[in-house]
């Protein structure tokens, strides 16, 4: 890695001694010698294992649940259903006013995606818990399911989530998060070219080495300690207290060693039910996703479908950008309403475009709920925007680097969300990457600067 100190000279503080220098990561020796203690390395006498009975259907009504045979499996200690969960319906961002609560900890009236958790089995061994889970008998009435975001928004589509009453999240009375800046239709009418394209991504997994999980241990004084690999201790603590109707001070979260996060450990799925199980049995309880659960049941990155329509002039200026974006939230909100707003805020990318129209839809489907993942709301948008930029540059025969520099935002420009640009540095990144790749630039692009727009 090299530094380019010739950009933004004079803006950096020079007299620092402790920052700006490389120091070895504090955990690296433990990791490479196999000595690091993860939550699952902790040993507790009398540990119970929790295994979930999961929905085999994408969408179904639960007619009955029969646990009698499962209870007879040797080693089974207790079986939990929705009736055991004090506040069974929650949503993770309720404390920052994302509403409504829309997800059961344990499903009871219906299931909304394949793999949804319904019954928790607690047993002395993993094998006993698994055997018993297989013996829980659930009768379903299969319902029609919807898997496509645009199908889900059509009239007559199966209703995925009754707590929303429709298959999308409502943003202050609007059916999507919107941005309106200038007049795109007028600009399209005057543009030399109008280019409309569609982009699509599939869900992907965080693929951590260590699967999501926790162990909850009853302390001597009616408090409970949870050893977890969560990325956010207080999300877990606060949501758990609300779900269990528990005083907050009864709960303690200990974490800090995570075998791969990438956003996959920001949900609050394993801890509340493990806390509940430990409270009801007065025994330590471990709930750990199997690799299959991590891949198919834990939240992936949302699939997104993005339509971009651009107005382009022959000289390379983009005069209008209209974006219609669909986030496939799956069956429940989790972090998707937040990510959808982030997607709207990100448009039209790091470019100054005078007319912008954005509709970002957070859509419910009968799919594994999506949630946080590295860059969500931005990563797939950038894929769409930057492939679109390549197409536009080629259409008018302009070098793609020069095209980026021409349209890149500069300090003082106005963004579509009506915030003035400060601290821009896209132009310089393009210039430096061009240098590195020996990609020739014209003089006008070489002397361009984020500090001011050349006339």
């Amino acid at each position: 890695m090299e530094y380019r100190k010739d950009y933004f000279t004079g803006t950096q503080t020079q007299d620092l001694t402790e920052v700006g220098v490389t120091r070895q990561r504090s955990d690296v020796l433990g990791h490479v010698t196999g000595k690091t203690q993860y939550y699952a390395d902790r040993q507790f006498a009398g540990l119970l294992h929790l295994k979930m009975v999961r929905s085999p259907h994408h969408h179904a009504r639960i007619k009955s649940i029969d646990v009698a045979k499962a209870l007879k499996v040797p080693g089974v200690v207790r079986i939990l259903t929705a009736k055991d969960v004090p506040q069974n319906i929650y949503t993770i961002l309720c404390l920052i006013q994302v509403e409504p609560n829309d997800e059961p900890v344990l499903a009871f009236d219906k299931v909304r995606f394949k793999g949804e958790q319904i019954v928790a089995v607690l047993a002395e061994s993993e094998a006993a818990a698994r055997d018993a889970a297989a013996k829980v008998k659930i009768v379903y009435e299969v319902l029609p399911a919807v898997f496509d975001v645009e199908e889900a928004l059509k009239p007559g589509a199966p209703l995925v989530n009754e707590y929303h009453g429709r298959n999308y999240f409502t943003y202050e009375g609007h059916h999507c998060r919107r941005v309106r800046y200038g007049d795109v239709e007028r600009a399209f009418a005057k543009a030399d070219h109008v280019v409309e394209e569609m982009y699509q991504s599939s869900p992907i997994e965080h693929a951590p080495t260590e699967t999501t999980g926790c162990i909850v241990v009853p302390d001597q004084n009616d408090r409970y300690t949870c050893y977890s690999n969560t990325q956010a201790l207080y999300f877990t603590l606060d949501n758990t207290a609300l779900i269990l109707n528990s005083p907050f001070q009864k709960l303690r979260l200990v974490g800090g060693t995570v075998g791969g996060g990438f956003g996959g450990k920001v949900d609050v799925i394993t801890e509340p039910i493990a806390f509940l199980a430990a409270m009801l049995t007065k025994r330590p309880v471990k709930y750990e996703y199997s690799r299959e659960e991590e891949m198919q049941v834990s939240s992936p990155r949302a699939a997104e479908r993005i339509y971009i329509k651009d107005g382009l002039m022959k000289d390379g200026r983009i005069t209008a950008r209209k974006v219609t974006l669909y986030v496939d939230a799956g069956a429940y909100s989790r972090h998707s309403p937040y990510g959808t707003t982030k997607a709207a805020a990100h448009m039209p990318g790091p470019y100054t475009i005078p007319n912008v129209w954005v509709d970002c839809h957070c859509v419910y489907t009968n799919r594994t709920p999506s949630s946080a993942m590295r860059g969500f709301g931005v990563t797939i948008g950038d894929f769409a925007l930057e492939v679109q930029m390549d197409k536009l540059a080629r259409l008018i025969g302009m070098d793609p680097m020069e095209f980026r520099i021409l349209n890149a935002y500069r300090d003082g420009d106005m963004k579509a969300h009506q915030k003035q640009v400060e601290g821009a540095a896209l132009v310089e990144c393009v210039q430096a990457a061009a240098d590195l790749a020996r990609w020739p630039l014209c003089d006008r692009s070489k002397t361009a600067s984020s500090l001011k727009r050349e006339v």
Partner: protein, 333 residues
Amino acid sequence: MTRKRGRGMAAVNYPTGMNLGGDPSQALIHATTTGSFVVTLSSVDLGQGLKTVMAQICAETLGVPTDNVIIDTADTDTGPHCMGTFASRGTHRIGNAIIMAAKEARAVMLEVAAEELEVDAGDLVTDGAGAIHVKGSPQKSISIFNVALAAHFKHGKSISGRGIFLQPRSYPEPETGKMTPATCYAHACTVAEVEVDTETGEVAVLSLKSAYEVGRALNPRMVEQQIIGGAWMGISHALYETTEPYYPDRAHGPVDFNQYLMPGPGDLPEFANVVIERPAADGPFGAKGVGEMTANSPIPAIANAIFDAVGVRVDSLPITPEKVLRGIRALNA
């Protein structure tokens, strides 16, 4: 069989911290009797090196060596609130909380040193090596070890500080989307070079050459670690990964690493990286969040390079050999 080469580029920016703000983090700092400094957090180090960078930020602010700083974190019984480690927020939010706490602790440390040296606290400087002396008179000096002992046992003073950082929440205007999503943005540009096998549709990434503007690289090797790790994830997104290969159809979902495809070390390209620093006005020593962004620019750069190589646009991720091959066949039809 023909292998065709192509190159493509992409440029991106990335906001630091939770979108719309409203995501506080706190830090508490206290000195031990012997002049070590304990930073108490509830933040989680995901393995990216948060603890190391936080120790560096604390040390720089206090004016002590980083080795004298202990990071105690990830226990809700002891650590003050942190929103969590996500949204490229750790360095910026927690770093700023630590600077605030360390400034308060430093003021007490200098007060005690001033009383011990019988000088004015305003005349004192730290040497960064474990001592405090009068500006311009290095011989009139006291070690931080002795300052801490004196604070505890002679003056009855707690060398400690409290810090919090909160970017106040912005509420988008529902009609227009007028909002403040973030206060600073990192930037990147990547040039990808690929080789496409026109018989199998397989894509090999030959090189990724990128420039990253990060505000300030607080620990350069850890910035590079983020860049390489992120780019690897970007290659994986672009060409390999999905839990639903025939989305929106839910069939054929992988359940283990035999079925869930990812590039291995042998699939890594040549990397060349350049770092640019334009300090953020509200960043700790100018730093911006760079963690998430590093996965983003390689994805479209690779897609554009594939088009450059074989004239096929694959506008859906991942760009599998099947999709590339179908595209090549459609061109030749």
